[in-house]
Amino acid sequence: MKPMNEMSLSFLSCSANESFARATVAAFAAQLDPTVGEISDIKTAVSEAVTNCIIHAYRDVIGVIYISVKIFENGKITIRIRDKGCGIEDVEKAKEPLYSTGGEERAGLGFMVMESFMDRMKVTSKVGKGTVVVLQKQIERRQAKSANG
């Protein structure tokens, strides 16, 4: 299916950009007329993915984070977050709840939150090359929403 609209952005892995990234993706997603709850889910998932890039992928360096978003006529949104950082050795291990290499005060919940707030999550990573996280969510169409009250 062809997307009805798409956008991409890239920015430096400064932590101040966490709010910029989630707000920007949310603003673009607004074209699908999501509910406040759906927008909040998207913002939370993007925030987790971008934080992972900043804390893990580019641990001791500043690198570039790339996000591309596609929205589809049927209400589907696909968000791709990519870095060229250190990569993840064991993706399955990294996805485990409460597992974190992020040091003090990192709850180790990032992937778990992304998985639970979005419909689908796919993580591919290559050590020394970087990581790609693809998130997908179906936004309920407006007619369906009003029919459901």
Partner: protein, 114 residues
């Protein structure tokens, strides 16, 4: 509604930290430092983290709760978490942090997002 800020109110032995704005990895650090500074100085019996004026929180908020729980535990005190929005409760229940801190329901009056 952008940067996370903290307002601290000390009454008797109870320190209330009224958090506001957005809580993420970037803003949590400043909030943490401010709260810990006052906790270490005043050694309260109880610390209340109020999320009533928080418009957004990701898992950095869980780190904030767990870290403050450990701090209060080391001082022999108690941690209470109040006014979580339904979305925040969803993250909190994923984390299992409800087993550590006392979660208090308050009439939620979230200003944004929820």
């Amino acid at each position: 509604m952008d940067n996370g800020t903290v307002r601290l109110i000390l009454e008797d032995d109870v320190l209330t930290a009224v958090l506001s704005g957005e809580i993420d990895h970037h803003t949590a650090q400043g909030m943490r430092e401010e709260i810990d500074f006052t906790v270490n100085r005043s050694k309260p019996r109880k610390l209340i983290l109020s999320f009533e004026h928080v418009g957004f929180m990701d898992s950095a908020g869980i780190g904030l709760i767990i870290g403050r729980y450990k701090l209060m535990e080391s001082l022999g005190g108690e941690l209470v978490v109040s006014h979580l929005s339904p979305k925040m409760e969803q993250i909190v229940s994923l984390s299992g942090v409800g087993r550590l801190a006392k979660i208090e329901k308050g009439e939620t009056n979230h200003e944004a997002n929820e």
